[in-house]
Symmetry: C2
Subunit: 177 residues, 2 copies
């Protein structure tokens, strides 16, 4: 079956600080035309940082779209042209104070294939050392250690709802066990 959609025209309809929204006129496989709304994203990295005694470094952050505090793994956007592994190391260090000697790439995670090209690279970090956290003045993050098996149970009980965290924790679980 031919599934391909072809671009006819593209228009930047909102040029925000984070969200740069495009509205494209496209041709469907049946030659009908329709529109696609989406935004480009620089990509991100996300880390399961596992201590020698099997605890995972997690963060609690106020997430404005939900007006509530969400439990999630350390993660952050890539700087322009930044290597995803470099970004993963930078974000882990800045947000939690941890550095790691051993890094395992666990694959890509596309959060929302319908409306953004964002790609979050998932990593497992081991052989941790705690140094100093360097949050921006306007960044508010609570860091905590949770036993890995307890965290997997929280995922399975539906207590962890952040998508990248669910995927990364369950991937790490299969890699480790």
């Amino acid at each position: 079956m031919n599934l391909e959609e072809k671009q006819i025209s593209t228009q930047r309809v909102y040029d925000g600080a984070l969200l740069k929204v495009n509205k494209d006129q496209i041709e469907l496989p049946n030659k009908n035309t329709t529109i696609r709304e989406y935004f480009n994203h620089p990509g991100a990295s996300c880390v399961v940082a596992l201590t020698d005694d099997n605890k995972v470094v997690i963060e609690r952050q106020f997430r404005y779209p939900f007006h509530s505090i969400i439990t999630e793994l350390p993660a952050g956007k890539l700087d322009k042209g930044e290597d995803p592994l470099v970004a993963a190391k930078r974000e882990l260090k800045e947000e939690t104070g941890y550095t790691a000697k051993r890094w395992t790439y666990m694959g890509d995670f596309y959060p929302s294939v319908a409306y953004t090209d964002e790609n979050i690279r998932l990593y497992l970090a081991q052989d941790l050392t705690l140094e100093e956290q360097h949050l921006d003045d306007d960044e508010f993050v609570e860091v905590e250690l949770i036993d890995f098996q307890e965290l997997v149970n929280m995922v399975m009980q539906g207590k962890i709802k952040d998508g990248k965290s669910i995927a990364a924790i369950l991937k790490a679980d299969k890699i480790i066990s």
Copy 2:
């Protein structure tokens, strides 16, 4: 630590068909002000539909933001006010032709906590019957069955990149085994 962000004002900066983007002025815990860009989403449902001989119903769809065909689980947006389980049954039937007698709720999946309140409810569907597919005229979806263990291997090898599919497949794997 106080993590809460308070709304000062809100503005609809783009009112698209799918993306309705808001830009809010907010107050941070340290009383500084900044902006948050995000969009509201009606929510969605996603289904691991497992046949009696341990095959999973998957879809291949052209996903415009990536300009490529993505392998993913059946899923779809909720109609206004629609119950997530009703949406899951509707989408599975329309897109793949399958109905299921046994449904297990596997938890919520937030694709992108930074910029949308979208919540995808994950389901496991069993005791399947194949009826008739009812795609919209402008919907192009290739349906295939993949052995469950092979699909789990594809997730672990990084061949499945769609976020909701990674999370739902690995949750189903732990529930079943």
